[in-house]
């Protein structure tokens, strides 16, 4: 993952609530075993039918509960591959939000009024360290978990960080608490 500190540029707008991951990347494109190349299938049906138009700007402003539905990480992969670096919405589905932070696609939660203001401004500058979105309408603060911020700013590998904690995992396993569950290899 590459480090992220500032994301700046024009804003694309998708003014719809409850956009689900089946719309972001329909199931027929989940059969690939690679991580790349999903951008051309983003919002496949909506874009093909002319229902929406989206420019691959750095920032996307979307409606509430964005990314609801399936856990497919293909959805953030497609958004990132299409060109988006940050998504601003009033709220996100939990799994989608987590998936975005894992790949370095920045999810930003602003209230509806501020989302509208950024959409209308058409351009914005997001500062991860300051936790602010700066646009013609003003400067809006947002919140991000400290450990997620640390990882995004450093472009750090989540697994690498956890493995630094391997002693704690070993200790947990040796305490016996972990060994009560079923043994799948013995079935």
């Amino acid at each position: 993952m590459r480090p992220i500190d500032v994301i700046e540029g024009q804003v694309s707008v998708l003014d719809r609530a409850d956009v689900d991951t089946d719309q972001i990347i329909p199931k027929q494109f989940l059969k690939r075993v690679e991580r790349t190349g999903f951008g051309e299938f983003l919002f496949y049906d909506w874009i093909r039918s002319g229902e929406i138009r989206l420019e691959p700007n750095p920032i996307l402003v979307a409606g509430r509960n964005f990314g609801c539905g399936s856990s497919r990480e293909h959805a953030p992969w497609a958004l990132e591959d299409f060109g988006f670096e940050a998504i601003i919405a009033p709220s996100f589905a939990d799994i989608f939000y987590a998936n975005c932070t894992k790949i370095g696609l920045l999810p930003v939660i602003l209230d509806e009024e501020h989302c509208r203001a950024v959409a209308e401004a058409g351009e914005a500058r997001i500062d991860v360290d300051d936790e602010t979105v700066n646009c013609a309408a003003g400067v809006f603060g947002f919140e991000i978990e400290p450990d997620v911020k640390h990882r995004l700013l450093g472009g750090l590998d989540d697994i690498g960080i956890t493995l630094e904690n391997a002693d704690a995992i070993d200790a947990f396993e040796q305490s016996g608490a972990a060994e009560r569950g079923p043994v799948t290899t013995a079935l």
Binding site: R16, A17, D18, D20, D22, Q23, P26, K27, Q28, L30, K31, R32, V33, E34, R35, D45, G63, R64, N65, C68, G69, S70, S71, R72, E73, H74, P76, S91, A93, D94, I95, A98, N99, K102, I103, E145, D147, D158, I159, I161, T162, L163, N165, A166, A168, I169, F172, E173, A177, A178, R180, G181, P182, V183, T184, T185, A186, L187
Partner: protein, 461 residues
């Protein structure tokens, strides 16, 4: 201090602040290939193959294809073969096509008894919440997290808030767990549970069988919930007893499991109560599971909705679904019926549907299909003669898999086709591009197949 079941589970699995140990990792073919690639790239092994279990479900044909290498769709074949190869390379047990234990990942876990109370369970699939029905903490994760769990057996997690929904009273005859959860999501909306681990409680929940409890926890994600859970009790213990992976020291395990339910007086961040006896058979009318009404109701009128966002969503949904406001739901006529999915494909679901169709014929306007949740469900159903009941009524009787719930295999809706489905999502295009999905219970789906339109099964004979 009194603790919730969630608090107990969380604290028992916290390796360090925000790092949670995972007792069982379920893996399937769609969300895992890139995770295994990541491991190979970094030269990392799977930390605990003995806490990992894989099956092929999302992509598999249900027409009787016996082995992964025979799947006609090349991309699907590659994905299932990749799963088999990855599991072999990393030492993970896998039940692929042709195995008598193959099936939908959320059906086979409970069936094998690897799903047990008190466990943390994850899978690269949002319906992992199903396993919470056993008093486990179970939730869906993305592919990066799949890789993380494979490598570390742990997951970095933000502690969710807690919610308890207390269901007073009893479900009326003909009203099923599917109706209970659809009614709940209808009330809270698809984002109503976001950020929460949700405990379902109360007499109406305690009275349910394990399959019914699984249906409810399964659809927690459709309300946006991080995890759904139900306190383990005698019903839970009896389900696990005697299954292949049941603990050898079963009585000792039960004593441990008895400590799991939320303590008297434990505080939840959000609490609400629903009168279960007031719930009716439900049918969705729109393009998310929160767009749902009682079968006796009519298609709602967007003009009566307060919020502009809701109005606009409803208008778009009705245009997609080709429905007019005010149309009674009982006049809505599906051409397809799908009984299956991780929500409603267990033996009990099939028994209920079979009871409705026994001795009857599927309407000439309808093509109906039953897809058992697992090979073991299929075998059990055939031993009871359910396959014959369905076949002689005119249903297709298929092999196990996710099938038309998401249509990654050849089972899909055509453009404009309308389907009564026992699955969990009625999103645009979910079951096939341009397909129109109405979510219902197995009983409601079966009755719709016979009549050619939705009926109130409470007064249907």
């Amino acid at each position: 201090m009194p603790q919730t079941m969630f608090d107990k589970l969380w604290e028992a699995h916290e390796v360090s602040d925000g790092l949670i140990y995972i007792d069982l990792h379920l893996v399937h073919e769609v969300t895992s290939p890139q995770a295994f690639d990541g491991l190979r790239l970094a030269g990392r092994p799977v930390r605990r193959p003995d806490k990992t279990l894989a099956t092929a479900d999302h992509n598999v044909p249900t027409d009787g294809t016996k082995a992964a290498r025979l799947i006609a769709d090349e991309l699907s074949r590659v994905q299932v073969e990749t799963l088999e190869r990855n599991c072999e390379e990393f030492g993970i047990p896998v039940y692929s096509l042709g195995s008598e234990r193959q099936g939908i990942v959320h059906v086979i876990g409970p069936e094998l008894g690897v799903t047990q109370p008190g466990m943390t369970i994850v899978c690269g699939d949002s319906h992992t919440s199903t396993h919470g029905a056993f008093g486990a903490l179970a939730f869906g994760i993305g592919t990066s997290e799949v890789e993380h769990v494979l490598a570390t057996q742990c997951l970095v997690q933000k502690r969710p808030k807690t919610m308890r929904i207390l269901y007073r009273g009893e479900l009326a005859a003909g009203v099923t767990p599917k109706d209970l959860i659809l009614a709940t999501i209808g009330r809270l909306g698809t984002g109503g549970m976001v950020g929460h681990a949700v405990e379902y409680a109360g007499p109406a929940i305690e009275a349910l069988s394990m399959p019914g409890r699984m249906t409810i926890c399964n659809m927690t994600i459709e309300g946006g919930g991080r995890a759904g859970m139900i306190a383990p009790d005698e019903t839970t213990f009896e389900w696990v007893r005697g299954r292949p992976a049941a603990p050898a020291d079963f009585d000792v395990a039960i004593e441990r499991w008895r400590l799991l339910p939320s303590d008297e007086g434990a505080g939840f961040d959000t609490e609400l109560e629903i009168d279960a006896s007031s719930i009716s058979p439900m049918v969705t009318w729109g393009t998310n599971p929160g767009m749902v009404v009682e079968v006796t109701d009519a298609v709602p009128d967007p003009a009566t909705m307060d919020s502009p966002a809701d109005r606009e969503s409803a208008e778009r949904a009705l245009a997609y679904m080709a429905l007019d406001p005010g149309t009674p739901m009982t006049e809505v006529a599906p051409e397809r019926v799908f009984i299956g999915s991780c929500t409603n494909s267990r033996i009990e679901d099939l028994r209920e549907a079979a009871e409705m169709v026994d001795g009857r014929r599927v309407a000439s306007s309808v093509r109906a299909m039953v897809v058992p949740g697992s090979q073991q469900v299929k075998v059990a159903a055939e031993a009871e003669g359910l396959d014959e009941v369905f076949r002689s009524a005119g249903f297709e009787w298929r092999e196990a898999g996710c099938s038309m719930c998401l249509g990654m295999n050849p089972d899909t809706l055509s453009e404009g086709e309308r389907c009564a489905s026992t699955s969990n999502r009625n999103f645009e295009g979910r079951q096939g591009r341009g397909g129109r999905t109405h979510l219902v219970s197995p009983r409601m789906a079966a009755a719709a197949a016979i009549e050619g339109h939705f009926v109130d099964i409470r007064d249907w004979s």
